[in-house]
Structure formats: structure tokens, C-alpha cells
Amino acid sequence: MMAALSADVSYRTVKVWLRNRDVFLHVWKAEMIWPLFEPLIVMLGLGLGLGRIVELESGQDYIQFITPGVMAAFPMWGTIAEAGWGAYNRMANQRTFAAMIATPVSLDDVITGEVLWGATKGVISSVYILIVALALTPFWDLVQSPLVLFVLPVSFLAGLMFASMALLATSFVRSNTQLAYFVSLVVMPMFWVGGVFFPLSEMPRTVQILSWFMPLRHVVDIQRDLVSGNPGLATLADIAWIVVVTALLYRAVLWSMRRRLIK
């Protein structure tokens, strides 16, 4: 039992992260268009288009409302794509994990390195979105506080959680396409009902209670507090929620990957 709870993680986990970084440095220019452009389209398209017909109780412009939501939701997609399809490909098709664990790198190092890398992809996506948001701020007053810079470390923390979630799903699927179940049943509901596109405070009480269990909702809440410059105790509670859930998911993914890969 104790053995199952002790993680065999060393500094070598960084080497796993570095391997992924090396690959990223080959392709980042080709791949940057999507994480840069998609949030921009959503912010302008929904923010301005839908914004013309939406009136929020808070009196906020709709484009202001969805900006922190985009800062929470799109980095999540970046992380999930990496720790889902990307990691599945490295694990099952390319056998990169098998190659690495034949060296002094342990399986726990590999998985931890993948979690760190997934979170890094979230931060990279966050940086793009932050640049877009700052560029648009003179026109629509999107960013109201220098606290917005804390969006990046929060993205990293949230990335650790989403990467652990996606890797946990990856540890169970038998093909790349099976990850669609995880995306449809877990990620999509969070994305649409997690407080990104409409305020949950105006929803029925049941929906509000259920949304408390959605990881993305807590990330959205934190990013809103940072972008508007009004963090408080509730923000700390959200951070605590994420830390606890991340720790649990990380333990679970180490266990599940060992179950799958160590025979």
C-alpha cells in the first residue's frame, strides 16, 4: 500500500519536459496560429456579435465578460490536447514512454514530465491570449488591473490539473478516438457550462451547486478576479480547491499509468 502511494520522481522528470520542449521548438511557428487566432475570433465574434444583443445584470460589456473566461478555457484545450492526444501518441504509437523508461528515467518521471509539459502548453496558450487581450484593451477596456499577470501562474496550476485529468483518461483509452468520450462527457460540459460564456450566478441553484464540481469553473472564477483586479477570499478558496483536486488526480494518474504500463 505504501509503495503504491510513494512516487518515484526525480530531477530526471525535467529531461522528459525538455524532450517535449525540443519537439515544440521545431514546430511552434507552424502551430501558433490556432492557439492565437481561435481565442481572438471568440472574443471578437462572440464578444462583439453576441454582445450587441446581450445585456448583463452587472452592466459589464459582454466582451469584457468573456475575456477572463477565454483565458481559462482555451489554455485548458491546449493542455488537454497535449496530455490527451499528444501523450497517447507518445505512449502507444511512438512508444516514446517505453524508450524513456529503459533509461534511468522512471515511469513516474515520465508521467510527471508530461503533466508539467501539458501545464506548460496551457501557459503558452495563456501568453498568446494575454497578448491579444492587452492589444484589444485600448478599444474595449478588457484588462482592468496589473494583477492580470497572475493569470499566467494560475494557468500553470490549472494546467497541472487539466493535464493530470487528460493523462488519467489517456491511461484508460485503447485508441486515440476513444479520447472523444473524455472530451464529450467531461471537457465539453465544463467548457459550455463552466461559467465561460454566461454568468452562473443567474442560473438555478442546482446548476450552481453542480458547477462547483467542475474544475474549469474555479479557474474561470480566479481569472475573473484577476482581470478585474478584485481577488478575495473566494479566490483563495478556488485556488485551494484546484490544489486539492490536482493532488488527487496526479496520484491517480501515477497509479493508473503504472497499472497500464508496468507488466
Binding site: 526525480s10 512508444r95 516514446t96 524508450a99 529503459a102 534511468p104
Partner: protein, 312 residues
């Protein structure tokens, strides 16, 4: 003075659910030798070397690798091994050179040393021109050589190769063997699994033959041939239909010798010191147009022990 025994297995075993993959085997591998694991598919070779490589937990018995216990010293053991797995797992997202550098990094080889070492192994395996190539553009033989280069980049004491030439064409295989012989001359200890008997005969100092999870024979290739087959073998072939009576006649002719039959061949082996030169080959020629007297090989030993029928 470092220990001469690099691997020591006692009653080593492994099971997967109800399947017994390795059933209490004993062997030792000593420094400087090339040690071969022979056996048909499913004999337990790969399971055994995965335990040695510390990627699969020891199921039962004891295993010491480089004097250490895989259960407690996996990282320290793996730091001194070079592994060439059965299936290619080169990193297709990186170039040839980057594959070597990323691998050296897993072993904590400092960057400058890694670069120097990477070029050395590329030269050694005749891959220098391919350094900037993507993995998908390499031929099968080049991929296998690069996998060996990758295993050597950390300067291992022991090189483990799991069916290294499966799927290679004859030229690629000859070149591959030549490179391995060179490594052996340089003093590298090698552990090799294969089901190509010629590969074992070309490379291995000592072999064990595994079948159905156990070791069924061990020795040098020459010893095994001499002990189990003898010097020569006669093959009498039949094309299908004309068989029955002619076969009976061949059996009659070969009385006093060991005889083995498959669907279209009768094999005659030496027995109790009786030489095949005593066999009346002229009479055999009367019975079949295809009679061959040849030197015995490790393949005969293997098939003799594991059966000539298809194992599935």
C-alpha cells in the same frame, strides 16, 4: 577488480495472470561474452530480458544485474545498460542526431560529451551522413543501427538486444552483425535474443535455448551441435505424393540412425557415434531426386529440441 558475473539469475520466473512466461530459469552472463537466448516466439526470452532491463518486475526467484537488485536499484542498473528493444521506438519527432542527444540527456551525459559521443556512435554504425535526417526517412536497417547507436551513447557496460535483426534484408543483417562483432572485439558484453540460429552462431559465445518458459539446453554453439546433432545431417526430400513407400524405404535404409520426419522431408542424424558416411547415399538417391548431406547447424539443434512442427 570488478565482478566478472554481470547477470545472475536463480529460479527466475514471471507470470502474467495464469500464463507462466518464465518458469524458474538459472543462468549467468559473464563480462566480455556474447550470450544468446534462443527460442521460438513465446518461449519467455523477451520477458526475461525485460526483467533484466528493470522495466518489468521480477516475478519470482532472484536476479542480480551488475551486482544489484532490480527491485531496489533500477535506476543505477539502467544507467549502465544499453537496450535495443524488439520494436523500434526511436523518437519520430526528432532527427537522428537529436534522438541521440535526447537519449544521452536521460543518462545525465553532459551536453558537450553527448555531442562528441553521438558523432562517435554515428561513425561506428555508419550513420554520419544521416545525422540531420528525420527518422521516417531511414531504412529498416538504418533504424536498427540507430537504435544500437542510441543504446551505446551512454557507454553501457552491457548491451541487451531483443531480436535485433527481425525484418532486415540479408545485406542489412550482414552489416548489422559485422558492427556487433566489432563491439564484441572492443570488449562489450552482449545479451542477445534471437530466433535466427545463424545470428546466434555468428555472434554468440554461449547460448541457452528456451522453450515453453524453460531452458532446455545450454552451451557453446559448437558444443550443442556436437552433442545434440553430431557433425552432419542428411536430408531426403519428397515432392508430395510419391511419398509413402519411398519414405518407408528411406527409414529402412537409415536403420541404426536417428530419423525425424516432416511432411516432405526425412532427416537422418548420427547416432551412437555412427557416422553418416556409413549411410548408403546412392541407395537414397534411388528413392528421391533430392538428397543432401550437409554440416549440422545450430538450426538443427533448435528444431530438434523445439520440434519441427509449427508452434502457435
Amino acid at each position: 577488480m570488478q565482478s566478472q558475473v554481470l547477470i545472475e539469475a536463480r529460479s527466475l520466473s514471471k507470470r502474467f495472470g495464469s500464463l507462466v512466461a518464465v518458469d524458474g530459469i538459472d543462468f549467468e552472463v559473464v563480462r566480455g561474452e556474447c550470450f544468446g537466448f534462443l527460442g521460438p516466439n513465446g518461449a519467455g526470452k523477451t520477458s526475461t530480458i525485460r526483467m533484466i532491463g528493470c522495466v518489468s518486475p521480477v516475478g519470482g526467484g532472484t536476479l542480480r544485474v551488475l551486482g544489484m537488485d532490480p527491485a531496489h536499484d533500477a535506476r543505477r542498473i539502467k544507467a549502465r545498460l544499453g537496450v535495443v528493444p524488439q520494436e523500434d521506438n526511436l523518437d519520430p519527432d526528432l532527427t537522428v542526431l537529436e534522438n541521440l542527444l535526447a537519449y544521452a540527456r536521460y543518462f545525465d551525459v553532459p551536453k558537450a560529451d553527448a555531442i562528441e559521443r553521438a558523432w562517435e556512435v554515428l561513425d561506428l554504425l555508419a550513420l554520419r551522413e544521416k545525422a540531420a535526417e528525420q527518422i521516417e526517412n531511414l531504412s529498416g536497417g538504418m533504424k536498427r543501427r540507430l537504435t544500437v547507436a542510441r543504446a551505446l551513447v551512454s557507454q553501457p557496460e552491457l548491451l541487451i538486444l531483443d531480436e535485433p535483426t527481425t525484418g532486415l534484408d540479408p545485406q542489412a543483417r550482414q552489416l548489422f552483425w559485422q558492427k556487433l562483432r566489432q563491439l564484441k572485439r572492443d570488449g562489450l558484453t552482449m545479451l542477445l535474443t534471437t530466433h535466427y540460429m545463424e545470428e546466434a552462431a555468428q555472434l554468440c559465445d554461449r547460448v541457452i535455448i528456451m522453450d515453453q518458459s524453460r531452458i532446455i539446453a545450454r552451451g557453446t554453439p559448437a558444443e550443442l551441435i556436437e552433442r545434440i546433432i553430431g557433425e552432419q545431417v542428411v536430408e531426403v526430400r519428397f515432392d508430395g505424393l510419391d511419398g509413402a513407400s519411398a519414405r518407408a524405404a528411406v527409414r529402412q535404409l537409415a536403420q541404426g540412425f536417428e530419423v525425424e520426419e516432416t511432411e516432405d522431408v526425412v532427416f537422418v542424424y548420427e547416432q551412437d557415434g555412427r557416422r553418416l558416411s556409413d549411410l548408403d547415399l546412392n541407395a537414397a538417391h534411388e528413392l528421391s531426386s533430392d538428397v543432401l548431406l550437409r554440416r549440422a547447424t545450430l538450426e538443427d539443434v533448435f528444431l530438434r529440441l523445439t520440434g519441427r512442427g509449427l508452434i502457435e
